[in-house]
Each structure stands twice: as structure tokens, then as C-alpha cells.
């Protein structure tokens, strides 16, 4: 005789619940493993060097590492530089890439596919590879050692163009037609129809861009000479790979100092962050 459906469902539910419990603990285990590096950074930064590798529970706490880290370089200026750089790059990217994506999404012009393919290829090419060439270009333009110079190669972000194009393409044609009927010019359509609807994508991209440029290292190192244009990551270099070996307390203290804004920002905005990605519909 066949088992009643309710019984079957019961056993499946029990299995599911067991699996659910297993899932939760596994998830927690992975999460803990995942944040171990951050936990370690917190441990090492707040304890003196001697205890950086010994996990003795009653080891003395100290803020001295943060103080030494802060004093080792003009971090206030570096913070300012990084903020300006990141904001500047983001701003330019938003303007430039919106226009480009608009063009790709809504207009037909000669060589469109080829140009877009070029854009995609740029997605793969990191400025680091073309370091020497790009530096020469910058020198010719007289832009070495300026925040503008650091940001310039990144203004036309293929990633942004790509994302925005996808988003623009999904905007229903009816809205555009309605705007046209009301006599709106292309720029007005862009401003009033496309941009508001693409807000989640903008937010998603903004977060990725800020994250990337906050942590970018090699290119800013080569381009920036003076304190006035040097971002945080380059300043952070003072602590790493010295002849004296690695002092984890200072490095972690410096890391926490320089990542703090990003971390805190992320913690606060993470819900919006995830939701924005949701609505950006990266499909």
C-alpha cells in the first residue's frame, strides 16, 4: 500500500530540516573561516609585536601600533588624496560611461559592433600591463604626479559601459516613446528616463569602482611622486617587505586604519549594496 502523501511530506520535511541544520552550521563555519584574516588583523593590531603570533588570552592591549602606523607617514593627506581620487574617478566614469552606454544602447552608427568589441577588450586590459607606455603618454600630457593623471586611464570604464548598456537596453521602449512624444530632446530623455531607472546599476557600479580604486596600488605608485598626489595604498607600502622582516602588528594596524572607511561604509550600506545588485539584474 502506498504511504499517504502527508507521511511522505513529513519525512521529506524532516530530512530538509536536518539538512537545514547542517547547512546553517556549515555556513557559519565557512563564514568564520572567511573572516579569520580580519579577526587576526584585529588581534595583531591591538596587541604589541611580541604577541602578534601568540594567542595568549591575557596579553596586554595597546593602541601604540596605531599611533606608530599613523605617524610613519602623513596619512591625513593620503586619506584626502584617496578620497578625492576615488570620488573624481567615479564622477568622471559616471558622466563618460553614461553617455557612451547611451550611444551604444540607443543609436546605430558606423562601426558600432567593432567599437563595442574594443570596449569589451579593454575590460581585459589592465593599465598595469601597459605601465611604461601609459606613463610616457602621461608625461607628454604633463600629467605625471597628479591625481588627474592617476585617474585618467580609468575614466572610460568598460565595465561601466557594459553594465549600463545592458540596463539601458532593458528599459521599455514605451517610456522612451512617451518622452519623445512630449517633445524631449535626446539629452532630456537620457536624464529623465534612463538615468533614474538605472539607479540600482549606478549604485552597484559605484560600489565596485570605489572599492577597486581605494585599493589600487601599482599604477598610483608609479605615477605619484609627492605626498600631494599619493594615495593610501602607496603610503601603506612603508610597512611591508622591509629588511627587518614582517611586523604584523604594525601592518595590521595600518591596514585597519586604511581600510576602515571602506569597511565601515560597507557594513552600513551592505543591505543597499546587495539590493542594488539585485535590481541591477546582472543577467
Amino acid at each position: 500500500m502506498r504511504q499517504p502523501v502527508s507521511d511522505l511530506r513529513g519525512s521529506t520535511r524532516r530530512l530538509d530540516r536536518a539538512r537545514g541544520w547542517l547547512s546553517t552550521s556549515a555556513a557559519w563555519l565557512v563564514a568564520i573561516v572567511w573572516i579569520v584574516p580580519l579577526l587576526y588583523a584585529l588581534w595583531a593590531a591591538f596587541h604589541p609585536s611580541a604577541f602578534a603570533t601568540k594567542f595568549v588570552l591575557n596579553a596586554p592591549l595597546t593602541l601604540a601600533n596605531f599611533v606608530s602606523a599613523w605617524q610613519a607617514a602623513p596619512f591625513t593627506r593620503y586619506f584626502l588624496n584617496t578620497t578625492m581620487l576615488v570620488a573624481g574617478v567615479l564622477g568622471m566614469q559616471l558622466v563618460v560611461c553614461t553617455l557612451a552606454a547611451y550611444a551604444f544602447a540607443c543609436y546605430e552608427f558606423l562601426g558600432k559592433s567593432a567599437l563595442f568589441a574594443l570596449v569589451l577588450i579593454q575590460l581585459m586590459v589592465m593599465p598595469e600591463i601597459l605601465l611604461v607606455r601609459n606613463y610616457q603618454t602621461l608625461t607628454q600630457l604633463g600629467l605625471v604626479d597628479s591625481l588627474f593623471g592617476i585617474g585618467l586611464p580609468y575614466f572610460a570604464s568598460a565595465f561601466a559601459i557594459f553594465l549600463l548598456r545592458q540596463t539601458f537596453k532593458t528599459i521599455p521602449k514605451e517610456l522612451v516613446e512617451a518622452a519623445v512624444m512630449e517633445g524631449a530632446s535626446s539629452l532630456q530623455i537620457l536624464r529623465k528616463v534612463y538615468i533614474p531607472l538605472a539607479k540600482p546599476t549606478y549604485l552597484a557600479f559605484a560600489l565596485v569602482s570605489v572599492s577597486y580604486h581605494w585599493n589600487n596600488f601599482l599604477w598610483p605608485l608609479v605615477v605619484s611622486n609627492s605626498v600631494e598626489s599619493r594615495p593610501l595604498t602607496v603610503g601603506l607600502q612603508v610597512f611591508s617587505s622591509t629588511d627587518q622582516g614582517i611586523d604584523w602588528s604594525i601592518i595590521t594596524a595600518a591596514t585597519l586604519l586604511t581600510s576602515a572607511p571602506l569597511l565601515i561604509g560597507f557594513l552600513i550600506f551592505q543591505r543597499q549594496f546587495v539590493q542594488s545588485f539585485m535590481r541591477a539584474g546582472i543577467k
Binding site: S23, V30, A31, P37, L38, L120, E128, S186, I246, K283
Partner: protein
């Protein structure tokens, strides 16, 4: 409009043209030597080792980071306890700068008192020299890469999962389908577009991530952890061999261009799939 498009391409095209312009040259004398640099590359054992390493690196990192990210997305998507904490924990590695994090991982891998070995010794296992043995180093570096990437991909999957209609889940529950069945037959196929996007990104990253190698192993021991981009950096900025570096750049660009074009075609077709 067209003008603006042209302008946005200035850095892109400029760099592209530059790379085309760096035809193989020798030393300072800029003598055109044609294909000789390519021949040198083909005979260079370190080049081939880097290619092999990169291949293994990609081969292992990609499925594992994608797998982890799907798992994480699934976990975080459900009404699991402490969901916010989990989500933060998974995504955290993406936010931290690689230079600083690499040093922390060096500590983890240090023989003797490094965290990994401390834990192993707690359980009675022998510690190992994770970064100093040629057959262990690539694996150690791969772990760091997966750690850094999975959270980033998780976000994409999470977005996709959350945009799936809840009616699917309800239907599945009514039918009494198990979670695994639900995943395999319903979620996975619907996630295909996301998977493709993530796959392409992961492929690119497999060739792009070298910061941690520069800090942790410098390609060693004996080139056991050398990747193509890392070798390119060495040839270009340590050996100052512009000709050879250009060749490597071209090779790398070709690989990545292939991936990019693949993405263009597949994704565009998938867009219609919607």
C-alpha cells in the same frame, strides 16, 4: 553623441594602439628583430611553467570559487540564522586591499608558529612549509585567491536568486521536492546567465590576480608559483626586456581578447534568451 563615444575611448584606444606599437625590439638599440622574441618565448622553460601554473590556477580557482559563491548565495538567500553576519563575512575579503591581506596570509602559512600549522599541531598533525615547498605553494596561493573571489561572485548570484520568482519555490515545496532537486532542476538552469557572466569574470581574474604572488612568493620557489602576468611584470620591470615583455603582453592580450569576445557573443545571445 559619436564624439562623446570617441572621447570615452581615448584611454582605451590609446593603450590599445600602444600595445600594437610595441613591436618586438631589442634592448636600447631598437633594432627590429622580427619574430625572434617570439621564438625565445617558445623556448623559455619559465614561460611554459608560468602557462602551466596559470592553467592549474585557473582550472582549480574557477570552479571552486564559483561553487563556493553559489553555496554562499544559497545560504544567505534562505532565512538562515545570522544572515546579515554571514553576508558580511563572505563579502569582506573583496573590500580589503590585497597587499595588506597578503601579509596576513603569510603569517597563516608560516612554518612553526603560523596559524595554519598551529591549528594542525593542535590536532597532532605535522606542520608544513606551505609557501616554501614547490608542490604546496600553488595550492596555498589558490586558497587565497578563492577566499578573495568567492564573496564577490556571491553578490551576483544573490541578486539573481532574489529575482527568481518565489512561486517556483512554493511549487517545489508543494510537490515535496528536496532542496537538492530544487537546486538542480530549477535554480541552476535559471542561474545560467549569471553563471556565464561570473565564469567570464573568473576567467579574467585568473589571469589578472598577481598582487598576492608579488607579496607572498615572488613566483617561487623556483617558479612554482609564477603566473603569466607575474612573469610579464618580472620581464618588463625587473629585467627591463621591453621586447620580450611586449611579446608576453601580446600573448596575454590574445588570451584575454578571446575570452572577451566569447563573452560578447555568448552574453548577447543569452540576452535574447530572457
Amino acid at each position: 553623441m559619436v564624439l562623446l563615444v570617441g572621447f570615452t575611448h581615448f584611454p582605451a584606444v590609446a593603450t590599445f594602439i600602444d600595445s600594437l606599437m610595441s613591436t618586438p625590439r631589442a634592448g636600447r638599440a631598437a633594432v627590429f628583430v622580427g619574430m625572434e622574441n617570439y621564438r625565445v618565448m617558445l623556448e623559455d622553460p619559465i614561460f611554459w611553467k608560468s602557462v602551466m601554473n596559470n592553467f592549474w590556477f585557473a582550472f582549480i580557482t574557477i570552479p571552486f570559487s564559483i561553487g563556493m559563491s553559489i553555496l554562499m548565495a544559497l545560504w544567505v538567500n534562505d532565512k538562515i540564522a545570522g544572515r546579515d553576519f554571514l553576508r558580511t563575512a563572505f563579502f569582506l575579503p573583496t573590500v580589503l586591499p590585497m597587499i595588506a591581506v597578503a601579509n596576513i596570509w603569510i603569517f597563516f602559512y608560516t612554518p612553526g608558529y603560523g596559524l595554519v600549522n598551529q591549528i594542525l599541531q593542535l590536532f597532532g598533525f605535522a606542520g608544513h612549509n606551505w609557501l616554501g615547498e614547490p608542490n604546496l605553494v600553488l595550492g596555498s596561493v589558490i586558497v587565497v585567491a578563492i577566499w578573495k573571489e568567492a564573496g564577490f561572485f556571491m553578490i551576483f548570484y544573490l541578486a539573481a536568486l532574489q529575482s527568481l520568482s518565489p512561486s517556483y519555490k512554493e511549487a517545489a515545496q508543494i510537490e515535496g521536492a528536496s532542496a537538492w532537486y530544487f537546486f538542480r532542476r530549477i535554480q541552476w538552469p535559471l542561474l545560467m546567465p549569471t553563471t556565464i557572466f561570473v565564469l567570464i569574470n573568473a576567467l579574467i581574474n585568473a589571469f589578472r590576480m598577481v598582487d598576492h604572488i608579488i607579496v607572498m612568493t615572488k613566483g617561487g620557489p623556483d617558479n612554482a608559483s609564477s603566473l603569466i602576468l607575474f612573469y610579464l611584470y618580472e620581464v618588463g620591470f625587473k629585467f627591463w626586456d621591453q621586447g620580450y615583455a611586449s611579446v608576453l603582453t601580446v600573448v596575454l592580450l590574445c588570451i584575454l581578447a578571446l575570452v572577451g569576445l566569447l563573452q560578447f557573443f555568448i552574453l548577447d545571445r543569452r540576452a535574447h534568451y530572457q
